[in-house]
Amino acid sequence: MNFLEKFVHSQSKLFQKGAKLEKLYPLFEALETITFSSKLVSKTKVHVRDALDTKRYMIMVVIALIPCTIFGIYNAGYQSLLAAGLPSNPLTVFLTGAKFVLPIILVSYAVGGFWEAFTAIVRKHEINEGFLVTGLLFPLTCPPDLPLWQVALGITFGVVVGKEVFGGTGRNFLNPALTARAFVFFTYPANISGEVWTAMSVSKDKLIDSYSGATALSVAAQTPIGSSPVDSLHNAGFTLQNLITGFVPGSIGETSVLCVLLGAMLLLVTGIGSWRIMLGCLIGASTTSFLFSYFAGPNSIAFLSLPIVWQLSMGSFIFASVFMATDPVSAPDLNQSKWVYGILIGFIGMVIRVINPAYPEGWMLAILLMNVFAPLIDHYFVQKNIKNRIPNVI
C-alpha cells in the first residue's frame, strides 16, 4: 500500500494548480478518491462527521442492481437460445447473454462517463458519483438487442439534457436514466417496442416454429373480449412462476421479480431506498388493478380482469417502483409527499398500461410525469407544515 500511496502522491503534482495537467484534475481526483479514502477534514464547528458519503450511497444502489444485471445477462442468452431451438447449457447461455448485454452496459458507462468527465473538467468541479447508478440503470431498461449507437445517443441525452444542463447531480428534476430511455423510445420506437425483446442468435428463418416475439403484456392486452387473460397467458407459455422468477422476454433487467426484491431488501435495510415510495407504488398499482377487475364487465376489454398478482408481476412495474421511482433527487423531499407521489405513480402507470392502447407499459411515463409534479406536492405539504409552526420572524 505504501508503494501505491507514493505513486499516487507523485502523480498528484502533475495535476495541481499551475502544473501541466491542471485541467484534468477532476479525472485524477476521481481515481484518487476511488482508490483511497478522502483526505479532507472538517473546517467548521461540526468537527466530526457521519461515515456515509455519496460514494457509499451510490455503490449500495449499484450492488442492489447486481442480481438484476447478472440475471438479465443469463436471461437474454436463455431467451435467445430458446427461440433458436439451440442447446442451452448454463455456460453457453451465459456467454450468449454476455455477448448481447455487456456491450450495452460498457457503452452506457463509457459514453455517459465521458460526458460526466467532460462537464466536470469544463466546470472545474469533481466528478459526481450519481452517474455510477444512471450508467447501469439505463441499460437494464433496454432490450438486449438495442443497437449500440442508440444506447450511446440515449445515455448522452439522459446525462446531458436530463442532468448536466441543470447543473449536475442533485440539481435535475427528471430521472436521468428514464429520460435516456424516453429519448430512445420516442426517437427510435422500432427498436425499443414491438418484437424486440428477444435477442436474435440466428436469423429469423431459423427460429423454432412456436416462437412468437410477444411479451406477457402484449398477450394479455390482445386477449379477446370475453376470454380470460390468465388462459391466454398460459396458452402463450407464461406462468405466474416464470413471470416471478423472470425467465420471460423483456428488457434486460426488469423481468425477474425475485432479483428486484433482493435489491429492494438491500436498499430498504440500508435506508437508502425510500420505503414510502415503494409501498406507495404498490398500493396505487394494486388498488387500481383491483378496481379494474371489480368494475370489469363481460363486455369490457379482457385485460381489465387480470388478477392483481399477475398484473404486478408482469412488465417492469416492480423494477420501476424499486429503482426508478426511488431516485432521491427527482422524488419529492418530504415524507408525506412521497406517499402521494408513490400512489399516483402506481395509479397512472397502471392506467396507461391497461387502458391506453398506444403504450404497452406505463411506468416510464408515469414516473416522468410525477417527477414534474414532485415540487408541487412538496410545496403543498411544506405550506401545511409552515402553518403549524409558531412564526419566528424578525
Binding site: S38, H47, E126, G271, D333
Partner: protein
C-alpha cells in the same frame, strides 16, 4: 406540577473518551487570556493597553455598540501581549499572572438578600462584575441590553453534547452557587423555566423546588433553544433568554464570594485523551496546561467546546468566556484503500449503510475526517430526521442560498439552535450549520445594529 417534554429527532453521538466523574486540578497557568473576537454580536473596545496592570474583576473590554456591557479580567497581573487577527480584530489579550491574585470587591448576597433587591440593582450588579454576558437572548443568542425585560428565561440544568461537563460533578461542588444563581434569575423575569434531563435523578432530588420541566431525549434535547421551541405557546416568547447550568453557577459564585468568578469545572474528553476526566481550571486558562500529561500526540485537533459546536483551538490557545470543555480528536482519517467498499465495522453512521449499525451503542474513535468530498444535495432526507426543531434543513439551505429571506424565516431559520446534527449526517458534506449561522449573523447585523 412538573411538565414533561419529549424532544423528537435527537441523536446520541457515540464517541470514545467520555470523561469520568473524577475531578483533578489543572496545572497552574503562567498566562491567561481573554478572546474578545470570539464573542458574537459585539464590537470589542479594549479599555487597557499593553503593559497595564490588572486585578481580577477589573473591566477589560466593552461592547462599542452598548458600552454598558462590559467584560472583566479573569486574573490579576500584567497585560503582556495583544494578538490581532484579520481587520484588526482583537483575538487574544494575554495576561501574565502575578504570584498572588488581587480582586476587585463586589457585594455578596444570600438568598434572602436577593429577594429584597430591586431588579434594576441586580442588573447593575451583574453588569459591573462582567457577569451579565452569560445571558443570551434568542433568536440570535446575543447579549441582551441592560434595559431588556424578557418574556421568560429558559434554564437548562443538564448538558448532553459530547463531551461537556456532567451535572453530577458540578452538583458535588457548586450546589449552593447554583441555588443562588437560580434565585437571581427569578428576579429578572416573571416566568423562569428550569429544565433537567428526565434521567438525572440527582439534580431532580436536590433542586425539586426549582425544576419546572423534565426533558427526555439525547443531544440536543437539553439545549435552552430546544426547550424554548417545545415550550413556547406563541410568538411573544421568541425573544426569551436562555442560560446553561455552568453560567448560572457563575452568577451564584459572584453572589457568594463577592469576587469575579474565575474558577470553573470543565470536561476533558475525546479519543486522544489518555485519561478523560473533569478538570478544575479557570477562565482563560492555557489549553496546553489543561491537556498536560494526556499524551495527545502530534496529529490531533484540540477543540474548545463540544464535538459538534466547539472551536478548533489548538494547543497554544486559551479557554474562552463561554467554553467549558476541551475535546481532543485525531486530525483526519487514516489512509484506507477502497474505503467506500468496506464492511465498515469501525465507521459511525446514522444510516444502516455500514455494518457498524448492527451493533447497538457501539462507541467509535471519531476524528475530523469528512469521509468524502463536497457534493450537491441529493435529497437523501437524512437531515430532517435529526432536526429537533422540525426544520427541513435541505429546503432551508436552498432558500438561504437563493437569498429568499421570507421563505427562510417561514421554514424556521430563527428556530435553529445550531446543534450541528444536520451537518453531521449529511452524506454530501454540506456545511448546513455554518450556512445557517452565517445567515443569522448577517440578519442580526440588520436587526441589532
Amino acid at each position: 406540577m412538573i411538565k414533561k417534554i419529549k424532544v423528537k429527532n435527537t441523536f446520541k453521538l457515540n464517541c470514545t473518551g467520555k470523561p469520568s466523574t473524577e475531578l483533578i486540578n489543572c496545572k497552574r497557568s503562567k498566562n491567561i487570556a481573554v478572546l474578545p473576537s470570539s464573542i458574537n454580536h459585539i464590537k470589542p473596545k479594549l479599555l487597557l493597553k499593553l503593559g497595564d496592570k490588572v486585578t481580577t474583576g477589573m473591566p477589560l473590554f466593552i461592547d462599542k455598540r452598548d458600552p454598558q456591557i462590559q467584560f472583566c479580567s479573569p486574573g490579576s497581573g500584567t497585560v503582556s501581549k495583544i494578538n490581532y487577527g484579520p481587520r484588526r480584530s482583537i483575538d487574544e489579550v494575554i495576561i501574565t499572572l502575578d504570584e498572588k491574585e488581587t480582586f476587585v470587591d463586589f457585594a455578596t448576597y444570600t438568598s434572602e438578600d436577593i429577594t429584597s433587591l430591586d431588579r434594576k440593582d441586580i442588573v447593575n450588579y451583574l453588569a459591573n462584575a462582567g457577569v451579565w454576558p452569560v445571558l443570551k437572548s434568542f433568536p440570535f443568542k446575543a447579549i441582551p441590553s441592560l434595559d431588556d425585560i424578557p418574556p421568560s428565561i429558559y434554564v437548562s440544568l443538564d448538558n448532553d453534547e459530547a463531551f461537556t461537563p456532567q451535572t453530577e460533578v458540578l452538583l458535588d461542588y457548586y450546589s449552593n452557587e447554583l441555588k443562588l444563581g437560580l434565585t437571581i434569575l427569578k428576579k429578572l423575569t416573571d416566568k423562569c423555566f428550569v429544565s433537567c434531563s428526565a434521567s438525572n435523578k440527582k439534580v431532580q432530588k436536590l433542586f425539586s423546588t426549582h425544576i419546572t420541566h423534565h426533558i427526555t431525549g439525547d443531544y440536543p434535547a437539553n439545549d435552552p433553544g430546544v426547550f424554548l421551541y417545545y415550550n413556547k405557546k406563541d410568538k411573544s416568547e421568541n425573544n426569551s433568554w436562555g442560560i446553561k447550568i455552568e453560567d448560572v453557577i457563575r452568577i451564584g459564585m459572584l453572589c457568594k464570594s463577592g469576587k469575579y468568578p474565575t474558577e470553573r469545572i470543565i470536561s476533558l474528553g475525546g479519543p486522544l485523551v489518555k485519561k478523560p476526566i473533569h478538570v478544575k481550571t479557570r477562565e482563560g486558562a492555557e489549553i496546553s496546561s489543561i491537556i498536560d500529561g494526556q499524551n495527545c500526540g502530534l496529529n490531533s485537533r484540540i477543540i474548545a467546546g463540544g464535538l459538534l459546536t466547539g472551536r478548533n483551538a489548538g494547543k497554544n490557545s486559551f479557554l474562552g468566556y463561554y467554553e467549558f470543555a476541551v475535546n481532543v480528536i485525531k486530525e483526519g482519517q487514516d489512509l484506507e484503500i477502497l474505503s467506500f467498499m468496506k464492511m465498515g465495522l469501525d465507521k459511525p453512521t446514522v444510516s444502516n449503510a455500514y455494518i457498524s449499525s448492527l451493533i447497538k451503542n457501539k462507541s467509535f474513535e471519531m476524528h475530523s475526517g469528512l469521509f468524502g468530498g463536497h457534493r450537491a444535495c441529493i435529497a437523501c432526507n437524512a437531515c430532517p430526521s435529526v432536526c429537533p426543531v422540525g426544520i427541513y434543513p435541505q429546503l432551508l439551505m436552498k432558500s438561504v442560498k437563493a437569498g429568499d429571506l421570507e421563505e427562510s424565516l417561514q421554514h424556521g431559520l430563527l428556530d435553529c439552535v445550531e446543534c450541528g446534527l444536520c451537518t453531521y449526517v449529511c452524506p454530501s458534506k454540506i456545511e448546513l450549520s455554518d450556512i445557517f449561522e452565517k445567515e443569522k449573523k448577517r440578519l442580526s447585523k440588520e436587526v441589532l445594529g
